[in-house]
Symmetry: D2
Subunit: 154 residues, 4 copies
């Protein structure tokens, strides 16, 4: 289970009616969308301009793995806090950890670990995580982010 | 990585335009929806009536964990084979494994493991996986499903 | 074109990345979801408890018609004001009008008219719009809502 | 109400569980997605290569108006026929008509009229509907499509 004390960044959403499924609870795939809202807000908070139209870019970031643990159902109208942090940065990849918590009761709803890789624009080859990104994250997270300096810097 | 030789059940979808995101590829959350299409088709193939309006039911099945590995991007119009199997059944839980493969090239797109729990109708307490379900799965999967007989049967 | 001076109620959303399609703009179907966010907020503002789990209810409201005019594309990260009002109430039906406007520039994005009908719980027969609802709307909208009193009250 | 005898093109979908809302029926916004599936299949059937990554194109087609009439609820697992036709082509715009019908019972579910405009790549100025497109549609629809020849051809 995720260590909830390490998180500094919080975004917030309110559950919308069309996110509810036939069981009367938020459909499980929507949690991935909530976590993404958290990651976008996290990046913007670091001062990164998130440009989602990536066709002309030299590089782009893709998700290569997602783990979600569902802890309790979320319901229509609930206000949900999305806590997000970057837990490690390696040579060409990095990880987000996140969790969802009902705002009033602090009830844990779901946890997420996602792994992301920096690729060239054709999605073929990994590229080193840019130093700018490393530095912004390290400045924000401090000792809570584990940064493995790339071998080409050794 | 999933052992692709153990799968007997295949469903099929064609990527729709609204599933494509601003990167020109299927948005990562949609893979969870594809895997769900596979699980529903799997259950129906076993002869299980899938009733998604569960409010009046004595018990219902919820997903408690999802792992997705993204192996290659999927694009508009591609025909995708969804392979699905149940890999284990325990006392109150069971697991699906699944993978997505582009039909023509057999290119691996994504892999999924999901863990499901049988709960009472109020989503409070786990309930034993019904014997009917165990038997149907074992008959279909044979030695490929690992069934742990519940302790109350010991 | 909708008369924008008649609207009192405003809700607000920020465009999320997964709402953007392969053209780099908000996918047209998502506007229906935004308008629904506006209608739910409108009803809650009137003091109506919106209960979306309608299976045990004596009556429920369904949408029978939607008209959407797309005026300009909406883009990732834009803050959108959703203006919503009820324009008429008849015996068993009523209409919402709504429009979307980019917050900073006041650029018109889309307009919507939706017609709703009150049905019995089995979705078979129309039921009169409840007097409570009529009164709440008339109190809020004043002369801007056209209320046709039902014939059974004549 | 749409004249159902004029339609030649049929696509088909099966209602998926995640398309069902808390009322136990297909959420109203999903019908727009079904109609879009029908339009894409219609275009492909004409021999048009549908390329949804439009950033580098000289022109692109956008939807400017949608009308949907909801006639009966659609439920999980139902097979739905999507009938689609082009009803008129003007100088820079054209219209699709479509309806959804439950396959076995032929129960009418919803009707749609959508208006589309050909724009330049920056989405600023209308462009004439290309002659190739006109000709393909007229060949397929025959007298059922009303084509207004553009004035610059006069």
């Amino acid at each position: 289970m995720i260590d909830r004390t390490k998180f500094k960044h919080r975004a917030q959403i309110k559950v919308r009616n069309y996110e509810i499924d036939s069981q009367g609870i938020v459909h499980n795939a929507n949690f991935l969308l909530y976590f993404e809202v958290g990651r976008v807000a996290y990046a913007e908070n670091l001062g990164i301009k998130v440009d989602i139209n990536t066709n002309q870019h030299e590089s782009r970031v893709v998700v290569v793995r997602n783990e979600i643990d569902y802890r309790s159902p979320a319901r229509f109208g609930e206000v949900i806090d999305i806590y997000t942090r970057i837990s490690f940065i390696r040579n060409t990849s990095f990880a987000f950890e996140a969790f969802l918590q009902e705002h009033d009761s602090k009830r844990l709803i779901a946890e997420n670990v996602s792994i992301h890789v920096w690729l060239d624009q054709h999605l073929h080859q990994p590229r080193p995580v840019p130093d700018d990104f490393r530095n912004l994250v390290q400045k924000y997270e401090g000792d809570n982010v584990l940064i493995t300096w790339p071998s080409y810097n050794a």
